[in-house]
């Protein structure tokens, strides 16, 4: 018997095929939230187009009682709401699965499949009957199919009702129409299908201490908690919601109760060249400042990232990666900005990078990014991606230590300068991390110096002399290396009898973890190392040295993490094998398992 036909509780995947701009996002989000509130591990992936209205968009919900949260590629239920994509959507349903469609119109007999069950719900017909407004007729179809899913999957109706109540608090008419549409779908399913389906939901208690949050919101919140006051940006998918979130939190938390004024300034720049310039200007002047961008923006920022590196100015850049090169696929995910970020700008440059794997880490790494940028007086780039940034993830609740104070690094204040004999010298007297003290403008004449991207000696003076130039460049290299001790330690997961290692970063994490469990069950245990920043430290070197060979799982065609490892560690190139998934959709464990097994 196929396992689909067995009763499965809290272990299945649903895919919803919609037309974008028709309001499906709120219905899909509602389902996801309801499952989360039932205490069941759940993950939602929004596979949306770079478009406002009319193109295909999909939403995947995976429910897994064991907590696996990567994409599952076997869809038990397809909600096919887009006739443009019926063909491929119907093909994607696993044998024995179900397809829910709008039966207001007959389905093309050619699309019929014997091995799946078709659940027809006359959504358009019902909504046309019950709603007057043409826009409502379109929007309410979504809530109606959500209602049908509540019935077929056994979603707790009380939870759904509570969600609607919160969502439409103070909007009585909307609340009423949503309730009505939900009920229409629910009742139709109850009356016409055997509910629930063989796979269904049942309340659990696994979401205590968890939240549902996307990475961009978490990043924005991190910037707030880090004490960032200046933000500069240029709108770009998929990074826009970082700044939308930052603005919303600023409005909530940064309106001064005494003056009524804003304790923040957000600059929508004319382009990314300007956005990074503004961040450098503000950081140079002593404010915590950041920008958020994606690949095309990072390309434009290269020039001034090199400036920040060489003139030693803090800057925080959040790169929410998308598919490149060029415009690429703006609403698809990838990890292909890695090498660009690591060595951004002409000349010998190297930057500090952070690789959060989920929204929880986005929050904490955002704070860390500001501390590192100021401690090391250099740009820090946090490498998020579209999957982490824009999808809702179930992660542990965020916690905050009220004893935290920003690490502003080495800054001499007026008092320090007063005690100083002679002129302040900017790049001189470095500490054990090769960082020299800086001064802020407007503090004291004794602290004045000239910031320049042109050749300078350790005193900050202009130079064209080889020895003076090299002295500064050599220190910068040592400074970058010293940062390895300060970036978050890699995550290590060892298994008994491991024959090889697997290395990944960022959003690959859930798929790799699940894959490693599967491989172990199949008798192929492997150790796992998740790098969480660059420069790499001793743990990475040791892991590479300890294993005969390692797989590097990543989302770029050119194996950029593998390249960076070969460039920046002692590992021999032939010890690293690649598993590459770079088509733009988030990974599933199947990609990883197959990728590894095919090379063993």
């Amino acid at each position: 018997m196929h396992d689909v036909l067995r009763t499965r509780v809290n272990d299945f995947a649903v895919k919803l095929a919609n037309v974008n701009g028709t309001g499906s996002a709120s219905a899909n989000g509602l389902l996801m939230q309801a499952i989360f509130r039932m205490g069941i591990p759940v993950c939602g992936k929004n596979l949306f187009p770079s478009n406002i209205q009319g193109l295909p968009t999909w939403y995947e919900i995976r429910v897994n009682k064991d907590g696996y949260s990567a994409r599952a590629l076997d869809y038990d239920l397809m909600v096919a709401m887009n006739s443009q994509t019926y063909d491929r959507d119907i093909k994607e349903v696993r044998p024995g699965g179900y397809l829910l469609y709008d039966s207001s119109w007959p389905l093309d007999p050619d699309l019929h499949r014997e091995d799946i069950t078709f659940l027809g719900v006359p959504l358009a017909e019902m909504c046309n009957q019950h709603f007057e407004d043409p826009r409502a007729r379109i929007l309410m179809k979504n809530i109606a199919y959500a209602g049908a899913m509540v019935a077929t999957l056994d979603i707790d109706m009380e939870v759904v009702n509570a969600l609607l109540e919160e969502k439409f608090a103070g909007k009585k008419a909307l609340h009423e129409s949503n309730r009505k549409a939900l009920q229409l779908g629910y009742q139709y399913a109850k009356d016409h299908f055997e509910c629930p389906l063989p796979f269904r939901l049942e309340k659990m208690d696994s979401n205590q201490g968890k939240i549902l949050i996307d990475g961009n919101t978490a990043t924005a919140l991190g910037a707030i908690y880090a004490g960032c006051t200046v933000a500069a940006w240029y709108p770009i998918t998929p990074a826009t919601s970082v700044m939308d979130g930052f603005k919303a939190f600023c409005e909530q938390y940064r309106k001064d109760p005494e003056t009524g004024k804003n304790n923040y300034l957000i600059l929508q720049a004319e382009d990314e060249l300007a956005a990074i310039g503004m961040v450098l200007g503000a950081s140079w002047n002593g404010a915590r400042a950041f920008t958020s961008t994606a690949g095309p923006g990072l390309s434009l920022m290269n020039e001034l990232l090199g400036f920040g590196y060489y003139a030693e100015i803090p800057a925080v850049v959040v790169d929410v990666q998308r598919v490149g090169p060029s415009t690429g696929m703006p609403t698809r995910t990838q990890q292909s900005d890695l090498l660009l970020a690591a060595y951004a700008s002409h000349g010998d440059t190297r930057h500090i990078l952070l690789f959060p794997a989920n929204p929880h880490e986005c929050f904490h790494f955002a704070v860390k990014a500001f501390d590192l940028a100021e401690r090391f007086q250099t740009p820090v780039i946090m490498m998020s991606d579209l999957d982490i940034g824009m999808n809702d993830w179930v992660v542990p609740r965020l916690s905050w230590d009220d004893a935290y104070r920003p690490d502003r690094g080495r800054i001499l204040d007026a008092e320090d300068l007063e005690k100083k004999i002679g002129k302040f010298q900017r790049y001189h007297n470095e500490d054990e991390n090769f960082v020299a003290a800086r001064t802020l403008p407007g503090v004291s004449e004794k602290g004045s110096y000239f910031t320049r991207g042109s050749g300078h000696n350790k005193f900050g003076g202009y130079t064209e002399m080889p020895d003076e130039y090299q002295e500064v460049m050599d220190r910068l290299k040592k400074k970058h290396a010293a940062a390895a001790k300060f970036i978050p330690e890699p995550e290590l997961l060892r298994r008994e009898g491991a024959r090889f290692g697997v290395i990944a970063m960022g959003g690959c994490d859930p798929a790799v973890r699940e894959a490693l469990d599967q491989l172990e069950r199949q008798g192929t245990p492997a150790d796992y190392l998740r790098v969480r920043g660059f420069p790499f430290g001793e743990v990475v070197e040791k892991f590479l040295a300890e294993h005969d060979f390692c797989f590097v799982v990543e989302q770029s065609r050119d194996a950029q993490l593998r390249s960076l490892l070969t460039l920046e560690t002692a590992v021999a190139k032939d010890k690293l094998r690649s598993v590459l998934v770079y088509g733009g959709f988030p990974l599933s464990s199947r990609h990883v398992v197959q990728g590894i097994l095919s090379q063993l």
Binding site: Q33, F36, R37, I211, L221, I224, G227, T229, V230, A232, Y253, D256, T259, K261, N262, N263, Y264, L265, I266, L267, A269, E270, L273, A274, G277, M278, V279, L280, G281, A282, S283, W284, N285, G286, A287, A289, E303, L304, F307, R397, W400, D402, Y404, L440, P441, G442, V443, S444, E445, G447, S448, Y449, F450, T451, R452, G453, S454, G461, Y462, E464
Partner: protein
Amino acid sequence: MPSIAKPIATHPTLQRNSLGLTIRDYEGSMSTLCAGCGHDSITAAVIRALWELDTEPHMVAKLSGIGCSSKTPTYFVSGAHGFNSAHGRMPAIATGAAAANRDLLYIGVSGDGDSLSIGLGQMCHAIRRNLRMAYILENNGVYGLTKGQFSASSDIGSKSKRGEPNRMAPIDPVRLGLALGATFVARSFSGDKEQLVPILKAAFTHRGFALVDVVSPCVTFNDHEGSTKSYKHTRKNTLRATQADFVPPQSEILAQITKSGTTAVTMHDGSVVNFTAVPKDYDPTDRRKVAAYLDDQPANAVVTGLLFIDPNAPDMHELSQSSPTPLRDLAYEKLCPGSAELERLQEEFR
């Protein structure tokens, strides 16, 4: 730009300003520009204006882009922080710096290549934000550091040193500034200190973006016969449209006594710009009249003076409703919502 320190020797009789500083206290290191460069005269005017304004040196931030003009911040106010940024990127750096600390006087120095070609977009947007800064565009119509290419401000027909005429229309920063809504637009000539110093004093006082285009001949690459940015050509064709005196706030009573037929404009801090000479019916606070006046002048005229001023337009900070305390000085305790609020907030993330 190697910086050569100047010997510190102050003549005992040198006049001191209200801070007890002599004009030498506003100098920087030795200029390494060509002898006779117009930029050095502008540097001298900047020094004089700051000294006369009793500006505290450390309350100045000097910023520039790349090019000969952008070297000059090293040559004035060594007691101020300087920022020699990348080519065309100074406005963004200044915007960020001003966002972090609204209390400093931001002086940007740029050139026609830096401002009208590679950095045109950034300059336009700084104008649009009404960023509070004095933006000095040292305009010589030529790329000096790369040895003599035409710039975007080269006039049609102006000849290069090799005799080749420029055929493309120039971008006029004054017209551009007026069109974009700049709240302070002036043009002067590096050789006219009498006019330039009061303009700079007004620019340093202006609460908003003060665009000061200064024709500043390049003695090495653009001072020959046939150039429209040469000393000779500029002297011959300068049309001083307005002459203004700058009167600081403490002398306000004197400022009330204006000659008939002239205009006095009160600046945001209470100082006054006295227009001692303006053309008939000229109103420096009326953008359209100023533009119309410029239209009426002969094509080859170099119209100079403080041409337009709107002292009351909101600047970037006012437009943003940002804190009166510089953002960089806000205590962290004021900025972090704390753990209890994080707990509460997360009730929404479910």
